[in-house]
């Protein structure tokens, strides 16, 4: 079992249909699940709906969670699949692309220096330039420091495939950032 003790207890309560355990689960993981959905869907409203669906699916199928993986990995797998289903449904209607990454106001602290802010803004711009698959892999890899194996479990891609794609995405990010830096240094 790769879950912590509190999580084990919550999972047990969820299996018994506890609403308060469900509330705890939503509070604990909502930003992560939403961020994954957002990285795939790039639309705030759709991402919130997908995140809600994820939690409901998790509640309905909690008995299927066998503890072989981390609980978060299992939950993010549901979020990933739910978002992919949303994209499939969307293809029958229209493509939506209305979200751009930016520095969230609440994450900035007083101590945070200008350099860090600049770096974060730069990173937001770089992430916006990534392709959808690269963005998803980067999100899964960095959001909660998931290992490549966990990313594989969530996306159902094989390990070498994930490694290659992640490397390319990181390289692309690095290239864009170093290019921007060198352009800034010219002035």
């Amino acid at each position: 079992m790769k879950t912590n003790r509190k999580e084990d207890n919550i999972i047990l309560q969820l299996k018994n249909g506890s609403s308060s355990a469900f509330r705890w689960l939503v509070n604990e993981y909502q930003d992560y699940v939403y961020s994954i959905c957002l990285s795939i869907l790039k639309n705030k409203m759709e991402a919130e709906e997908a995140a809600q669906d994820t939690f409901l699916k998790c509640y309905k199928s909690i008995n299927k969670f066998n503890g072989k993986s981390k609980f978060s990995t299992w939950l993010y797998q549901i979020a990933y699949r739910t978002s992919i289903d949303f994209i499939r449904k969307r293809k029958h209607t229209q493509d939506i692309d209305d979200f751009d990454y930016a520095i969230a106001g609440t994450t900035n602290t007083v101590e945070e220096n200008l350099e860090q802010k600049e770096l974060q803004q730069q990173l937001a711009n770089v992430i916006n330039q990534l392709g959808s698959e690269e963005r998803i892999l980067i999100t899964l890899f960095y959001l909660q420091e998931k290992s490549v194996k966990e990313v594989c479990a969530i996306t159902n891609l094989n390990e070498s495939n994930v490694k290659v794609k992640l490397y390319r995405a990181r390289k692309k990010m690095y290239d864009i950032m170093s290019q921007t830096n060198s352009e800034n240094n010219k002035f």
């Binding site: 469900f22 930003d31 961020s35 809600q52 609440t106 770096l119 170093s178």
Partner: protein, 167 residues
């Protein structure tokens, strides 16, 4: 060992052996370009999660819990409809089967009154009128038959009505 961006990433991620990690560390110390690459990638690793993590709207938890309660209520209504369907299908199936058996095996008239007449299979009537220890297979068949009927019925209803059960 050629050291480039990939090796720097592996070094940061801790994916290298001790010897390889030492080689990368030395290269970073001695090569300013590699050092710059390492520092930038390290900064990216430290700051990226703050960019990737987005906050949900303020009512998200409340709305999600509400949706769960709504789904639970739906399931309550749904199970009522489901059981009515099961009962209806059971009664219909049972009637059809009884009718089929009676049509095939009934003897002319078994019970008759001034208001109605009833026909039953000869074997069944005989087993009742001449009840003995030897007639037990007929009586054993009745509950078995009923059990099978309910089971088939359950399968039919589950196949027709989509499953939306909530734990």
């Amino acid at each position: 060992m050629k050291i480039g961006f990939e090796e720097i990433c592996k070094y940061i991620d801790g994916d290298l052996s001790k010897d390889q990690a030492n080689a990368v560390a030395n290269a970073i110390k001695n090569d300013p370009a590699l050092k710059e690459m390492y520092l930038l990638q390290n900064q990216v690793n430290e700051s990226i999660s703050t960019v990737l993590l987005n906050e949900v709207s303020t009512n998200f938890t409340l709305n999600t819990v509400k949706r769960l309660e709504q789904e639970r209520a739906k399931v309550g209504q749904f199970s009522g409809v489901k059981w009515i369907l099961i009962s209806l299908v059971s009664v219909t199936l049972f009637s059809v089967l009884i009718f089929a058996v009676l049509s095939a095996y009934a003897s002319p008239v078994v019970a008759e009154s001034s208001k109605f007449s009833l026909t039953l299979p000869q074997a069944f009537v005989e087993s009742i009128s001449n009840f003995s220890v030897g007639s037990w297979p007929v009586f054993t068949m009745i509950p078995l038959f009923l059990f099978m009927l309910v089971w088939i019925d359950h399968l039919v209803v589950n196949a027709v009505v989509p499953r939306r059960k909530i734990a």
